[in-house]
Subunit: 109 residues, 2 copies
């Protein structure tokens, strides 16, 4: 559950600009501000079921965008490479490895 | 004109997974394979105007996606940083600059 929440937070972060204002509000309240479905329903004067359905649909949309654009996946890959670059960096050596990592980074764009 | 073509090629590359198969075909024929509007119209048994309208709409969609997600913009920014990393890399020195560039790269994700 918690891992799913983390993933959804990331997907929301990457793709929120593609959501409608209402989708974005519900997701933000639910995932970032930790509102319950009932609290969001009260705030918007709609049923708890309506909020639930909307959030479920939005989650599916975010997963679809990720399937198509892979922004979260690429972000994770880049983070790994950058971590390697940082930990392996030794000014006096390893030039070859360094360049190989940079090539890899470039291909991910 | 040529600069616009290059930009559209990039936008198409970044966002083609979000287009319908027909939009994608028209764009690919027009921008990648250099077909004329008339040739595409003939291939698909539709009017030249229909192809033109479809491509214009698709171009507008691609620009909208770029406005929202900035994938092409970030790609260009990353390419600049990577070029700097490559040209400035001197194993025996410049460690500080190197780390600054990596930080910059990280923020772009």
């Amino acid at each position: 559950m918690l891992e799913k929440t983390t993933r959804m937070n990331y997907l929301y972060d990457f793709y929120q600009s593609l959501l409608t204002p209402k989708q974005s509000s519900y997701m933000s309240l639910y995932y970032l501000d930790d509102y319950s479905l009932g609290e969001i329903a009260e705030e918007y004067h709609v049923s708890r079921q309506a909020v639930y359905d909307n959030i479920k649909r939005t989650e599916a949309m975010l997963e679809e965008y990720e399937e198509k654009l892979l922004l979260f996946h690429k972000f994770q890959e880049r983070a790994k490479i950058i971590a390697k670059l940082k930990s392996n960096f030794q000014p006096e050596s390893l030039k070859e490895q360094y360049e190989a990592l940079l090539e890899e980074l470039e291909k991910l764009d």
